[in-house]
């Protein structure tokens, strides 16, 4: 008999009171009204647990580290239990052949009904030899497990975009999941790492409503990635007022002015940091006085300095920013115009002297 989420939670010593608190907090974090709390509770009480297979490719485990710190006291226990995390080589007890056996078992038993969570990405160069899982390239494991899954969650910027291992020059040709697996719905949860509550929120949504959350064109859940950090930043009034920190130790920096001039990528980064925040809502980078580095955006490593406002172009072999190129070109063209005007003036004078009366 397959256990429901609720049964598993109760079996693990979680009180009904804590369970309901978890449901209401989840509803709040998903932006749902109070009327959804009983719906979430009902779903948890009646639906069988969905098995999740969590694969690790080329990654640093920061997604896992974030996930297990999901701020709400219950989230760690509840989520790890409720999703029936059947395979996660980093945190599971089983190892070796035993561990790999579970993978096969779930794949056959829940064919087409399990969720595949991928942390990290497969490197394609050297026939995938840069990442070996159980003696085989990760690429093989990923393709094998993805074959019969219901949906894929791409945890973090590695799985979603490629992240640091795919930064130029990308020697291992680390490739994001959606470029390798093309026939399954993929939910991207980018960030380096993603916010813990965003991770648990996405999973809870999928279990509660039995469908994947609404995604934007780039495959990210709209509810967490629909707005920029900038749109909800508490320092935004200083931006609009034109009050900026100009150096890390100046008056503006002490007063908590906007970090725009210090290269904060808040205006170009879609994530929930300025609303959900980190570590149970304690803080987020900008609140700690450091600009956003845009870690949930595609290729954020390759845009030049984290502390530049006008970032590098990095195209057509150019590695310079728009202002440098623009001012340089404008200078050259300006000089050319002046020179051309001078020659034109000489020509004009000469002509009118040669043909007196003609152009009078």
């Amino acid at each position: 008999m397959v256990e429901t989420f609720y049964e598993v939670m109760r079996r693990q010593g979680i009180t009904r009171r804590s369970f309901l608190k978890f449901c209401s907090l989840t509803a709040a974090s998903l932006g749902l009204g109070p009327s959804f709390v009983p719906k979430i509770a009902h779903a948890m009480e009646t639906k069988p647990r969905t098995p999740v297979l969590w694969l690790h490719g080329l990654e640093c485990t920061c997604c896992s580290e974030s996930f297990i710190r999901s701020g709400h006291p219950l989230a760690k226990d509840a989520v790890l239990s409720m999703i029936s995390l059947d395979y996660d080589d980093t945190i599971m007890t089983a190892a070796g052949h035993q561990a790999e056996a579970i993978l096969e078992e779930v794949m056959t038993k829940y064919k087409g009904n399990y969720i595949l969570a991928v942390e990290g990405n497969p490197p394609l160069n050297q026939e995938g030899m840069s990442c070996i899982i159980g003696g085989k390239p990760f690429l093989d494991q990923l393709k094998h497990v993805a074959k019969d899954c219901k949906a894929i969650i791409s945890w973090g910027s590695c799985a979603s975009w490629g992240c640091v291992q795919a930064a130029k020059p990308n020697p291992t040709q680390a490739t994001p999941v959606h470029k390798v697996i093309t026939d399954k719905p993929i939910i991207k949860v980018p960030g380096c790492p993603p916010i813990a509550e965003v991770m648990t929120g996405v999973i809870t949504y999928m279990l509660t409503f039995d469908r994947i959350p609404e995604l934007d064109r780039q495959g990210r859940p709209k509810m967490f990635y629909g707005q920029r950090i900038h749109d909800k930043c508490y320092r935004r009034p200083h931006f609009d007022a034109g009050q900026f920190a100009e150096a890390w130790d100046d008056e503006g920096s002490r007063k908590g002015y906007c970090l725009y001039k210090m290269g904060c990528k808040g205006p170009t980064t879609y994530n929930a940091c300025s609303t959900v925040r980190w570590n149970g809502g304690v803080s987020f980078p900008i609140q700690s006085g450091h600009g956003c580095i845009g870690c949930s955006e595609d290729g954020f490593w390759d845009k030049g300095g984290f502390y530049d406002r006008v970032t590098d172009i990095n195209a057509f072999g150019v590695e310079s920013n728009a202002d440098k190129i623009g001012m340089g070109t404008a200078g050259v063209v300006g000089a050319a115009v002046v020179a051309h005007a001078a020659v034109s003036a000489i020509k004009q004078t000469r002509q009118s002297r040669n043909k007196p009366g003609q152009d009078e």
């Binding site: 609009d240 007022a241 034109g242 920190a245 170009t268 954020f300 406002r309 051309h340 020659v343 034109s344």
Partner: protein
């Protein structure tokens, strides 16, 4: 066909002046409104990327960045609406109103004249030709540096505007939703929009220089044409 003053001047110089009505009133109006909008856009745009020094006092007492952005967005709307109006006029206006939008790429004589104009600018031709509308080289550079750049700036600009206006706004639906994924991410759109600023700056430099130079050295009027609409020819030779 000639205004009283033109007639007088012509008489005074003892020279036959021929004039053609080239730029109709909407085209001229658009030109100057556009020039103003582009000036505002260029300066405010630069200061959005590299803001002015910090303002002292309470945040609630200041709205400098807000005003700069407001001016940028308003001028952006003027540019867009003006552009749409200009397209409309290209359809209903006279033949010269269409010249900006259509390049006769398969016309061999046109290409020859592009080369001729290039030689004229390189001081390899002693005398320029007469043109009622743009000369072919001017037409080509208008299309590449001005028209394409304007379209690029409108599309990327409103894509960035849609980010602030957020999902559901017309700018987000029409532009942001596909432009951002096309470039990869928002920062790239900002960067290329910024490169676009410099392309427009280059265009403005060349445009103003060429117009004044042609006014002096060519055989037809230039600057006054965009004010009065009349193209005056300085001589009677073909």
């Amino acid at each position: 066909m000639l205004s009283a003053q033109d007639m007088q001047e012509a008489a005074a110089h003892g020279r036959h002046v021929r004039a053609v009505y080239v730029y109709e009133a909407p085209v001229r109006l658009w030109h100057w409104v556009n020039a103003l909008a582009i000036t505002v856009l260029a300066f405010t745009g630069y200061f959005i990327a590299s803001p002015l020094p910090s303002q002292p006092g309470e945040a609630s007492e200041n709205f400098l960045m807000g005003y700069i952005r407001f001016a940028h967005f308003s001028a952006g709307y003027v540019l867009l609406i003006g552009f749409l109006g200009r397209i409309y006029w290209a359809v209903v206006g006279n033949n010269h109103a269409r010249q900006l939008f259509i390049l006769p790429l398969f016309n061999r004589t046109w290409w020859k004249e592009v080369l001729f104009e290039l030689r004229w600018y390189l001081f390899l031709e002693p005398d320029p030709k007469k043109y009622v509308g743009h000369n072919p080289l001017a037409q080509l550079s208008m299309f590449v540096l001005f028209l394409s750049a304007s379209v690029f700036m409108i599309v990327t600009g409103f894509a960035l505007y849609g980010e602030g206006a957020q999902a559901g706004s017309w700018a987000h639906t029409l532009f942001t939703s596909w432009v951002i994924p096309l470039f990869g991410q928002s920062q790239d759109v900002h960067t290329w929009h910024h490169v676009g600023l410099w392309v427009i700056v280059l265009f403005v430099m060349l445009h103003i220089y060429a117009a004044i130079r042609e006014d002096i050295m060519s055989r037809q009027s230039m600057v006054s044409t965009m004010l009065s609409g009349w193209r005056l020819f300085k001589d009677d030779k073909p």
